[in-house]
Assembly symmetry: C2
DNA sequence: GCAGAAGCGGAACTACGCTTCCGCTCAGTT
DNA sequence: AACTGAGCGGAAGCGTAGTTCCGCTTCTGC
């Protein structure tokens, strides 16, 4: 691969990541190319479509989540480990509205190409949650299946009600209360 | 107003409501007109733009929420009253993805034209929440300001993870736990 | 330094969906 | 029954944004 071609590819990934993060999925291809000081032809030689580019950006961001889960899993205190993934997940999505949308499930993103990363992350989270439940620091009926909905819930505040004051952290606190409250069998509802 | 014109307007509102509900904000104007057995010209004579039509549909749906809040407020038990608005809000949005999106805050919906309805609803909810807090059935630090984020959170599950099994109700249960748990001053975090 | 292939730029093409426009029709009136 | 303008249909216009294409440029190996 020619050196200038490699440099251009880097630049494109860079610009795309920054622009998607700042303004969401609907920045224009032309704008990304311009930001990278590159022609549209070059952009399309590297990524067959906007969708492909977007998936690649999301895949790279996902690597950060895997890393996060890994670090969280190595925390001894089960309650702290859970908080670490839960809060860390949201913090990594903060300041990146395209990633938020992808994680929420909108954007028609087909996850092929990110499946592998997703599974790796999920497995670690599952273990962290199960450990928390066994240790009695998370409500007894909590399962891994609840995780997507819960983070998605808090993230929706981040996505739909963006505010300089991090309103989502208040929402997060409320939700964490629910998860860290032991609920005796059949007490609720 | 000519009788056929009135009938056409009814038909249009009908078709638009149904199609938006089923497939979200991006059904085409042409399709709405066709569904109502009416030409595009007629559609545009009644609603100056797609946005206008959408706002009108949302406004009508909002009337149902006001009604809901009114009924909830007349419930004696403060806990039951709160559950009624909270759950009712979500149930009214179920099966209507356009309304969900509007309530979430996406869809670039400008709320002018619905402001009035919105304020009416908000006022009632505020009273219900304050009553619940005073009665000690809702956590002490809960305020009306938390409401939008909380319902938005559960609704995001409804919107982004549609499933025939109402997964959002599980999410709802978890969140309600948090709200109905009295949190002593400074106990959390 | 040169050949030529790999890479580049960006004008043009295309698809899609909202909106406009205008000649015709028909409900309501006399 | 005749009249007439409010109302109608849907073809055409327009803007936007993704994608293609091809003549030109530039890097690299000899």
């Amino acid at each position: 691969m020619r050196s200038d071609a490699r440099r251009n590819r880097e630049r494109l990934l860079d610009s795309a990541a920054r622009l998607f993060a700042a303004r969401g999925r609907d920045v224009q291809m032309e704008e990304i190319a311009a930001d990278a000081n590159v022609g549209l032809g070059t952009l399309y030689r590297n990524f067959a479509s906007k969708q492909d580019l977007f998936v690649e950006i999301v895949r790279r961001r996902y690597l950060g989540l895997i890393d996060l889960a890994e670090r969280a899993e190595s925390i001894d205190d089960p309650a702290a480990a859970f908080r670490a993934v839960f809060v860390g997940y949201l913090e990594q999505a903060e300041c990146d509205s395209a990633f938020q949308l992808a994680l929420l499930g909108g954007s028609d993103l087909r996850w092929e190409g990110v499946e592998e990363q997703k599974a790796l992350f999920a497995e670690r989270v599952r273990r962290i949650i199960e450990r928390g439940v066994r240790a009695g620091v998370l409500r007894g009926d909590l399962t891994f299946g609840d995780f997507p909905a819960l983070v998605c819930g808090v993230m929706s505040t981040m996505y739909f009600k963006p505010s300089p004051t991090s309103d989502w952290r208040r929402h997060l606190d409320l939700v964490l209360t629910a998860l860290e409250t032991a609920v005796p069998q059949g007490a609720e509802r």
